[in-house]
Amino acid sequence: MLLPEPMSKILVVGTKDRLPASIELLYGLENVHVVDFSPDEEGFTLGSPLPAASDASHKLLKLRSMEKDLEVDETKFKEKVPISKIVPTIDSSIEQIETEMQGTIASKAAKQTRLTEAQSRKAMLEPFRSIDLDLSLYKGYDSLDVIAGYVHSNPEAQLKEALGGDLELFTNPDSTFIVAFVPVAKADEAQRVLVQSGFTEVPVPDGTGKPEQLASALEAEISGLSKELEEVETNIEKLRERHANFLLASDEHLSIVVEKAELPLRMGATEHAFVLEAWVPTADVSKVKKAFADKFNEDIHIEVLEEKARVDVHESKEEMKMEAGLSTAEAVTVPMSQETPVKLEHGKGVGRFAYYTKLLSTPRYNEVDPTIMVAIFFPIFFGLMVGDVGYGIPFTVLGYLGLKKAQSQEWRAIATMLFYGGICSIIFGLFLFGDMLGIEFTAAHADELSWSALLGIEFPHVLFNIGDFALQLGYYTKLGSVKILLYISLWIGVVHLLIGLFLGFYNQTIRHGLKHAIMEKFSWIMIMVGFALVALLVMIDVLIGGAPLELTDPRFVIGLILIVVGLLLAVKGEGGKAVIELPEVMSNVLSYTRLIAIGMSKAGMALAFNFIAIELIGGADPLMFIMGLMVFIVGHLMIFILAILSAGLHAIRLQYVELFNKFFEGGGLEFNPLRVIRKHTSEE
């Protein structure tokens, strides 16, 4: 349960006439993770795709282009079409849809091109509309230059002066657009004058006829084209509604066909045989063997190449050689690059937290899967930081709805956090802190705000006794028992970190053996315990309680010895960097004070809002009553949303940074077996 599933590497060998049936079987088993064949082995080449691939790819190409033309959005069509309905008619159906579409798509393209042309021509003509000159009059002069463009101010006077009257000028009614006819010789002069009026030149359009008439004709054409295009779009939409399900289903079906047909590309091949290497969970090996035997009798040979050990071959080569009597050559041929795939096995509840592990990295084959740690501590830490029934209930409800409804992985992960975190918040809110929306159920002091006083119902502070232990509604208040809560949070940190270190110790024993594990991890366990004894039990009393430091205190002496011996071991195992890492022990533990600090800050904010709101509500003024209610609702909503962010982020951070650093390496390869995932088709 803690380690990923044991894996075995198998070799499948058979004759090529059995290949298609073998591929079907491999996909059907859904627990075979294929290893790409490396073609440098002598006598083997890479396999070639089955003949079905090329025909199916060809059809896929057509289908995809049709989907693109019809703008099919695959998330909008969810009907599952049985394959038996697609396969027999796939060729004729594709052809039929193609002919149906051909005219529509072509006319759409043509109309769109014409529309853009007309629009750009109209845009060119637009400024000339208000100047009543035929377009043919703008061109074809030897001694005249035509200058047209926009100006900021009317340049007529300046132009006349500069050119000595050799000028014919037309302007639009508000003098922002001009057309000037000037002698070629004076064109440069005219340009210079115009620049001062902020002139930007506009090219004169080709053609003949009055611009006004041309432009109105174009306008009519554009509106006609737009209407026609709308019609074409409705046609396309009709086509889409009619054929989208078929298109998506056949696309999926053919994609699966192609994927299966191309599997030989990952195999080795000789003229008549194929070879396939794959990882299978060790527990399933016999099942795989039986499946092949049932289907092919003895025709396909399956052999287990190795059951993957957890030892790191790379580093313990020497030891392995001595222990197992392997020759160096044999030890080296185990390729390190071929990472064993990692299959994480969880129950339904813990499995929901696997997302958080994978968000960081997939665990390696030879290390503890931390998902179960996340599943235990993440909700507890979240609950401690929120610690309020009033927020816990909506969290739980939201999380429950999310788990029911949400599809995407990310939302499901957030819902998981809210649901389990919310339950923990309710538990801590009820029994540890005993408060709801920042108000305690029963007040410790008579003058404090409490639900008993507000509602006029007497809540029993002690629910019942189990032996000497009294189960109470709240033991500590977030703002009243800060010291003791902070102290408790430090011990939570020590326990959490020790769990991490023990997991790291375990990882090291399975990877490199006990000796390495003791030097690299047990050393730190000793330091951590020593730190807890010295700092948390003795020094806290001395520094904060003001007790005298007794050097003969056994806790102090044992703690110091543990730290020194642990440090020496760590230095031997890891080198000098262990000394630099020493202060990390303290900063790691102190980091857990956030568990209480964040709860406190929430409680402080709630206190402030409650204070204002109750002051307002208590008055006789109905307006003030509404104001008070608003403050209450908005304030608590704000704390509620902040709680998701801060409690969620800090709870996961304590796992990732403090806990995982003690044992987790990650970077594993996820188990990715051959299988068919159908969204738009169904098998029958």
Binding site: L359, L360, S361, I544, L590, R594, A597, H650, R653
Partner: protein, 76 residues
């Protein structure tokens, strides 16, 4: 005089949280920017980016703890 002393303690507590917060913010700003950059290259780096970004968060928690201890000793 005790009131003045309490006031100074309160100011000290405020400075402890405020300055530690600014320190965390400066550190997280540049790390966060780099993390977002890395995520743009490869979305799988979100988890690692998140961790690196929140590491300086501890500084402000230290500040908060110091402030709480000061606050508890006020009036004493």
């Amino acid at each position: 005089m005790a009131e003045v002393g309490d006031g100074l303690v309160a100011i000290g507590a405020g400075l402890a949280v405020g300055l530690a917060g600014i320190g965390s913010a400066i550190a997280e700003a540049s790390i966060g920017a780099a993390a977002v950059g890395a995520m743009a290259e490869d979305e799988k780096l979100f988890g690692k980016g998140l961790i690196l970004t929140v590491i300086p968060e501890t500084i402000v928690i230290f500040g908060l703890v110091v402030a709480i201890l000061l606050w508890l000793n006020m009036g004493a």
